[in-house]
Symmetry: C2
Subunit: 455 residues, 2 copies
């Protein structure tokens, strides 16, 4: 083990250089024009797995982007980890807010800046390098491993459920390991035991056939941008509570025990607010900030577009207005049920003066596990060894829909073993990864395999 | 006179070819990158005036775009027309909705399609050609004329008031003629005796320093796009009435006589609705469609922008959201007073969870004249002669702020002598001008000069 850790320490700079190459590929799955880049990232991932010592490495086609698969099954009798991650990344706009180009990784103050640095290429690469270290120094892993790296996580893992169902045999394992979530805070490593789900919609409102002159026609017809604002405004009350009828029906109440645990966490509201640059924190009444983000559902507007948006003034009465909206879900809300409630409500509140088109984009189920299972405990020990600190146990506000799929389709528990930081701009300009955490993460990953092997 | 009219009839095709050149210049005053094109359009206008026989033609600089001036004062003792128009045009987005490129004029079914065709290059050019016909066949005009063609009408004529005040002597005249408004309907020529005013704002809402992941942070802070929707939704009630306190205080009530006149106009609501492609007509309760557009103020959203607006789904919590909004005003509302009321109200309804920036863009006063003055009657006779039909008298929903300026600064009445059509997409894709009306408009303009000379 010492040799493995030494090898990781010695190769620190090389890892960063290799990661830069990975981050240079603009594998944006949401934008069709990047389809070739997405494939290139899949191939790069496969090559890296092969170089790391995995066998049977290949791209498995789906109706969308390929899955990268690789395995090492040289430890009969030992447990098998199914490692899940993704090689696709979020879009980068607004591009002008990036300090350095999103696909030319730049190291500043011990952090590497690039789209995908934290979410998720950097964390996938961490495991590939931990595997490589074992192979180089021990010629073997302490357990069996299967890598399953997909390319559609940022567009809702649209073909993943189907893929998992069709490859149950191949994906059979004892535990899923995922490194795609942040730790609780800088210097506070954590194990995540709960995630929110998601439903995402596009709303298109049409008022008239074409844009009109706001003088000649203003007052004659409904303004679709105004109607859209009216419709959106009816989704939440002034206290931040979602107004969609039935929305909260299936929400599992927070237990007093859990709330008490969270109150002990080193969370500084003032520092948090200042880091975000918000005039004040705000959300559903009756819940703390952590409770709102981790354990309460939300309604968010993700995008708005209508009419004239350039510099200056144009007196146009827009023909159409568009909004992207999404809801984060918590146990035991179901995305299909919430989608139905939303669609019914939005159609009800939209006036008949416009045409409304409601398009469901994607979604995922919320997830929660008990944290007293042996794999979660093993992960806790690995974090302790890699970071020199006892981890805290937290939930996360984001969504990794595949976690539910692994539970339902393969009967597998998941260990969320993330080393990102909450301020690493995962879906925003200037995404970054702390290189100290990246390095400790490789060491912790190496320990994780041994701890699970012995669990 | 017959020779002048014959000349106009014979040169019909040439006029269209020349107009195409004028329309080819993308003189978009709202976009700084078109500054050189704006100047080129000014020079083209000056050249056309010179070729038409006007004297002392020159560009007069302003702090913004130049004014094109030209005069012919060879009819001492006769009245002087101050002809006002503009050579700048509206932006063209969304470009993909244009059937043919906005700056490559295309003739289809007797209409010429291009940005500026109706608003206002086509109508300015109509007068230049009427002047040219007189000069060619009679060697003189029947009265004195001054052309005053500006380049900032589409950005609120920002330097015009100052210019008029500084050039009172030079602009001295008996009556202003403006051809920048549509006739009532195809086959229903009209004289416009009222215009709405305008105030235009940009609202910028900031929630946080950067865009955030809607999972990791959704629920912690206010969503600026949602807050913007909430703020906008509070500007009008469900009946279409503006909720800004004091907004209607100075609105001159519609007289029963005026309402009775308008009810006689050949206005078909069903056809109008179908032409606009609206599911239904909508506006302030208690007023007919014409009343709402001509004589009632409005609040409109002209543009919206926030977060992710591309194809697909991006789970972003936007940092900022922007809206362009404007209000059309009617006599006796004052733009400054309404701007103050709006600013106070929008700041009051915006919650303290975001930063709000309110930027006033431009505006103009509403205007109305009595239609029994001799110049309006002269214009009626000219329309009768050019179009073979008695005109109706109407108001217009749009704004020509300069009309108030001419009244206040120069003490001049204005005659609104427009030959556009209401469906000519003045500020929208596929702007066009009916070539029959363009041609009859040149003839009517020639008659107008004679009628005013004899008035």
């Amino acid at each position: 083990m010492d040799q493995v850790i030494d090898f990781i320490n010695v190769n620190r700079d090389r890892y960063v250089e290799e990661l830069k190459q990975y981050l240079a590929i603009p594998s944006i799955s949401a934008l069709p024009q990047h389809a070739a880049d997405v494939r290139r990232a899949a191939e790069w991932t496969g090559d890296a797995l092969r170089a790391g010592g995995m066998t049977d490495v290949r791209l498995i086609e789906t109706p969308g982007n390929p899955v990268v698969y690789g395995e090492w099954l040289g430890a009969p009798g030992k447990p098998t980890i199914l490692f899940y991650g993704h090689y696709d990344v979020q879009p980068v706009d607004p591009l002008d807010l990036w300090t350095t180009p999103p696909f030319e990784a730049s190291v500043r103050d011990g952090e590497i800046y690039a789209r995908g640095a934290a979410d998720d290429k950097g964390q996938v690469f961490m495991h590939i390098k931990a595997v490589e270290a074992y192979m180089q120094k021990a010629g073997a892993l302490p357990l069996n491993m299967k890598f399953f790296i997909e390319g559609e996580e940022e567009v809702g893992s649209v073909h993943l459920d189907e893929f998992v169902r069709a490859h149950k045999q191949q994906l059979a394992a004892d535990v899923v390991v995922i490194s795609d979530s942040p730790m609780f805070d800088r210097g506070v490593p954590s194990i995540c035991y709960g995630l929110r789900g998601l439903v995402y919609f596009q709303l298109d409102v049409r008022g008239t056939k074409t844009d009109l002159h706001s003088g000649s026609f203003g007052g004659a017809v409904a303004n679709p941008a105004f109607v859209l604002a009216q419709v959106l405004a009816q989704m939440k009350d002034r206290g931040g509570r979602v107004k969609i009828p039935g929305f909260y029906d299936d929400v599992r109440p927070l237990s007093e025990a859990e709330r008490a645990e969270w109150r002990k966490l080193p969370f500084n509201e003032t520092r948090y607010r200042k880091e975000l640059g918000a005039p004040r924190l705000f959300g559903e009444k009756g819940y703390s900030t952590l409770e709102r983000v981790w354990a309460r559902p939300t309604f968010e507007v993700n995008g708005l577009l209508s009419g004239f948006t350039g510099e200056g003034a144009k007196t146009v009465l827009p023909a159409v207005a568009m909004a992207k909206v999404s809801m984060r879900l918590v146990p035991d809300q179901h995305p299909d049920r919430i989608a139905q409630l939303f669609e019914a409500y939005v159609k009800k509140v939209c006036p008949p003066t416009v045409e409304l088109k409601v398009t469901r984009m994607h979604g995922g189920k919320p997830w929660m596990t008990e944290f007293d299972n042996k794999y979660v405990r093993a992960a806790g020990r690995a974090i302790q060894q890699g970071f020199g600190q006892t981890p805290v146990f937290n939930r996360e506000g984001g969504s990794i829909p595949v976690v539910s799929t692994f539970q339902e389709e393969l009967g597998l528990p998941s260990v969320l073993f993330g080393v990102g930081l909450p301020d690493e701009n995962a879906h925003a300009p200037n995404e970054k990864l702390d290189l100290g955490n990246f390095h400790n993460g490789i060491i912790a990953s190496a320990y994780l395999y041994r701890e699970i092997a012995d669990a």
